[in-house]
Structure formats: structure tokens, C-alpha cells
Symmetry: C2
Subunit: 331 residues, 2 copies
């Protein structure tokens, strides 16, 4: 095979078949994919959860992950956030003519690794190659289909008095991409939080944690999630400012560039609402995965549809829905 | 709202919400989508069929369709080809900053119209806006999920003696896109065959047609489908050269540019293999949709894994799997 992706590899003919068989099947092969149909027949008896995302991140390789890992985590996490186990993925590549096959293979290898963490398989795919300049390197779309293992997790469960937990320190993905793009070299260990969240969700469920609302804090960060929840419930969410876990590396980037960590994107961090009586146990479970898991706030009705930060001095300020350009191509 | 798509509309915050609510929900709104979750919970009791495709066609508006119509037909047709009724779609947009919102709305409106033809709804979506130059105008990914209504349609059913039918005259999509891109003005009615195929599949099933193998002839055209079938079955497929329906407009483009109509892409044309005793009835059903439906060949074992054309003079030549660049961004 050539060393670069060629337009012919997207022709639906001989060269397409070769790319699919020699590269994609090498990593993704399974009984369903091998049937040689355009789509896949799945036998699912339970309620299913599905979510689709396109990934356009730049740079395509970054500290802590790459566009391949991200594309599996992204859709699988959305499904995990609905209380479902990711099982099947479709995956669709749009590749710029000239991308090196070595890079493509590196990406596909990351995808395979992340699929294994989720216990999921690719059941259908699509590959388009477009001429130079029509797309920047590679975009990947994945759609995950999962089986619901815990029913009823929904924003409609948000009630006064629930605690709000974040699963780890926030903003690492946004800060990493920003630093990479701006050429900021840090002597630190700043790396994306990009990770599959199903193992944590599974652990919470196995420990009988009464998960009420769950959402990963991707584009728009924790601020976007909490604002959506406040708006959707007509309640307010109080955030204890000092309790929000932020690593020193992320805080450094934020201070340098004037960002608010709560609006930075994450790719392996979630927000959880649950009864106060459950918080201690949930934290114990989550700290097995990341010691920075923390109760950061609670639901009240003081400022309907708003999110507000309270400092240890008792001062308050609103945390708005993020607005403006933020960081394009963060995921 | 502004008149153009801005980077901020992809921020996952305020402007994203506005675009989704004012434009996408205007056309796609339904009970599942309105739940405000990142993904969708679906209650499907039957076997499901799923397929995913990314659409990068250029130009985005063409005679007979646009990228929106194409993006719904494409995935729904893949599912229909598996004997399934398209029910749910996820749909994911990658938009270049600066695309006019009027064009975007036109595209979304086409999608809605085509969804209605399939009786399907959008249950989950994603919108990315990337800076100018990172993508050419707009790419759309759709994943369709359907309920299997006729089991067992599969390439593994290909047997000696089956007839091969095409559902209409071939090559219209490829010829249309090529003519549009090359600025060839024809005084004719050349237009893409872009269409949803579920209604035809449903009619065949309702009329108890014993469909054995079914595939829409997209990239690589009828030649790619038949070659895949021949390879997958270890049999050969004879094509009666004069029986292949080609419109005079498509033939004109092919003669002008030296193309073989059998390798041109279609977006609303399928190939069907079935027992000879069923062909007449199947043709009757298909001619209700397009009078050019035709028996074009049959399965034999003369040249294992090959497809060959036979003229009325008895001369034979092989029809190979298409190779080379063909037409990038055809779909």
C-alpha cells in the first residue's frame, strides 16, 4: 500500500477495499463487520441509548490522546451518561488526500484500544477521501449504541437539595489543546483528561449509587452543563468556588490567558447530581479512579435558572452560560 | 440571529443553543429530541439495522437534490437495503464558519422532507463549526437505525441462476455532479437520481417478492456492487450489455468524458438478486416507481469472482471493480 492516503482510496472500488481490509479491519474486525454489508444487523433486546458526534480536533495528536481516542471516548461517554453500556459503534472517516497512512494507523490503533476499554465493537463504517484543502487532515464521526443498564437518569430528576459532584479536576482537555495550539511549552504534566467514562459509571451503578442526573462536561465545560441543568429545571445551582478541583497546570494556563476553568472543555470528566445521603459513598467510588473527585455544589431555588458561585467569604457571583468563540476545534 | 454561521455557534454554549433551537429544532423537533439529553433512548423490540455515512458532496446544491437530501437518503437507503424500515437518525454537522444560514436552512429543510418520506425522525445530533478553510462549506454525517421487517437479505444468498435487476436507469447522480462541477450546461433534464428507496423496498416486501440480495449502487456504481457480490460468493455475474438502462443524457456525458455508466455513482438506484420465477412480478412492482427498471443479468459460475458483459452478438468482456480516482466528493 502507498504511504499516504490517496483520493483513489475513497473511490468505493478497488483501492477503498484495500484500505478497509488492510487497515480498518486489521483493528476493528469482528463477526458483524465481516459480513460485508453496508450496514449492520444488531440483536438488542433492551432499551437502547444512542449518540453521535463528529470530531474535528486540532492538533490531531495531543498530550493525553489523539482524535482517534477522542472519537471513541466522545460517543461512548455520551451513551454511558445515559446509564447505558456502550456496545456497538459506527465510525465514519473524512480524510484529506495526502494524510500519512502511518498517522492514520496510529489513530485507528488508539480507537481499538479505547473500544476495548468500553467493551464495544465497530459494526459499520464509511470512508471518504477529499482533495487537499477540502478538510484539515481528518475528521471522524462516531455513533455509539448502548444497552441501558440503569433506567431513569435524566435532567428531569433535578431537585432542590441534591448534591453536585465532579469526577475529577476540571479543564485539562481545553488547557492542553490551547497550550498545544499556541505553542506554549510547559515543564509540567499538563495532559488531556480524554478517557472513557463507562468504567466509572459501571462502578457507581454496581455500588447502588442513586444517580439522578449525569453529564460529561465537554464543550462549554462544567459551566455549560450546570447552566443547562438550571435552565431545564427552573432551579438554581450553587457552586462552592473553593471546592472546584483545578490542577495547578490548568490554573497556570487560565491565569496566563484569562480563562475560567469552569468553561474549559473536558473529555473525561463528568458532573453528577444525587441525594446528599449518597454523596460520601459516591465520592469513595469515584476516588478509586481519580482522587480529585469532589462535591462542588448543591441544587437550591434561590436564583431560578441560574448558576452561582459562592466563596468561603460568602460572596456570590453568577456563572453564566459560556458565550463567544471559546476554542474552536476543541473536539 | 446572524446571517452567517459563526465560530461561536459551535461553542457548546449560548450561541450553539440558539442555532439548535431556532434552526435545527424548527425542522427536526420531536418528543425524543426535546428531552434535552446529549443522546437518545430508544425502545426497539425488533432486530435493528444500522448504517452510518458522511457526506462531503460538492457542489452542495445540485440538480435533483442537495447535501441535506443526500445525507438522509444515503443512510436510510443503506438500512432499507437490509430489509429494514428507517426509524431513527442521528445527524451531525461540520460547518465552515461563514456558511450562509439561508443555505443551512435550505439544507435542513430538504432533510426534513426526506425524513418524512422515510417516516423517520432525528433523535440526536451534533454541530461543530470550524474556522474558514478547515472544511469546504459543510459536511454532514447521518447514522440511521431501522427495524428489520424482512429478515435474511444477505450477500450470502447469492446462488447460481438468480436474476439481477436494477431499479432504474443508472449513473444519473455521477453524471449530474460531474456536469455541475465541470460547468457543462446541458439543455436536457439531467438530474441526480437522489431518492429514498424505502418505499420501493416496502412495495417489494408487501408483494411477497423473494428478495435474496439487495444493495444500492452508490460510489463505484453498479460495477462495484456486482464485483463485490461475485467476489463474496465465488460465482460470476453475467450482464446483458444492451439491457442496462442508461438515459440519453447520461450516455451523452459518458461519451463526452469517456466514462463507463456502470461505474458512475447512483444515489437512488439499487440492484436486486432474486429467483427467476419472481422477476416478472418484481419488475411490475418496480416499474410503478420507474419504468426503466430492468433485468440486466444473471448469476452463473463461468468465471468465478468475476463480472462479465455479454453483447447481443455474443461477445464478452470483463467488467472490473472500478479503480483509480473516479470522482471525489461524489457523495
Amino acid at each position: 500500500m502507498r504511504k499516504e492516503v490517496t483520493l483513489a482510496m475513497g473511490n468505493g472500488g478497488e483501492e477503498s477495499s484495500e484500505l478497509i481490509e488492510k487497515l480498518f479491519f486489521k483493528y476493528f474486525k469482528n463477526e458483524i463487520l465481516s459480513r460485508g454489508e453496508d450496514g449492520a444487523i444488531l440483536d438488542i433486546k433492551k432499551e437502547i441509548a444512542t449518540s453521535s458526534d463528529s470530531f474535528t480536533v486540532s492538533p490531531i495528536f495531543f498530550n493525553g490522546g489523539d482524535i482517534g481516542k477522542l472519537s471513541i471516548c466522545g460517543s461512548c461517554n455520551d451513551v454511558a451518561m445515559m446509564g447505558a453500556k456502550p456496545k456497538y459503534l459506527t465510525c465514519s472517516f473524512i480524510i484529506e488526500e495526502g494524510l500519512s497512512l502511518r498517522d492514520l494507523e496510529k489513530i485507528v490503533r488508539s480507537m481499538k484500544k479505547e473500544l476495548e476499554i468500553n467493551g464495544a465493537i465497530v459494526v459499520s463504517g464509511d470512508t471518504k477521501v477529499v482533495p487537499k484543502g477540502a478538510v484539515d487532515k481528518i475528521f471522524i464521526n462516531t455513533t455509539a449504541i448502548g444497552e441501558v443498564i440503569k433506567k431513569g437518569i435524566s435532567i428531569s430528576n433535578l431537585k432542590e437539595g441534591l448534591d453536585i459532584i465532579v469526577s475529577r479536576d476540571i479543564g485539562a482537555h481545553g488547557a492542553t489543546i490551547f497550550a498545544a495550539r499556541e505553542g506554549i511549552e510547559l515543564e509540567s504534566n499538563l495532559k488531556s483528561d480524554c478517557a472513557s467514562l463507562y468504567p466509572q459509571v459501571e462502578a457507581l451503578i454496581k455500588n447502588d449509587i442513586d444517580i439522578r442526573v449525569l453529564r460529561d462536561a465537554t464543550r462549554g465545560g462544567v459551566a455549560a452543563v450546570l447552566n443547562e441543568w438550571a435552565r431545564g429545571s427552573n432551579l438554581s445551582i450553587k457552586v462552592f468556588e473553593e471546592k472546584v478541583p483545578v490542577s495547578s497546570e490548568v490554573r497556570g494556563i487560565c491565569e496566563l490567558l484569562g480563562f475560567e476553568p469552569l468553561t474549559l472543555a473536558n473529555e473525561g470528566t463528568f458532573v453528577l447530581a444525587l441525594p446528599k445521603t449518597q454523596s460520601k459513598k459516591a465520592l469513595e467510588v469515584l476516588k478509586e479512579f481519580n482522587e480529585n473527585a469532589s462535591i462542588i455544589g448543591e441544587v437550591d431555588s434561590l436564583y431560578p435558572k441560574r448558576v452561582y458561585l459562592e466563596s468561603s467569604w460568602g460572596t456570590k457571583r453568577f456563572l453564566d452560560m459560556p458565550t463567544g468563540e471559546l476554542l474552536p476545534r476543541i473536539c
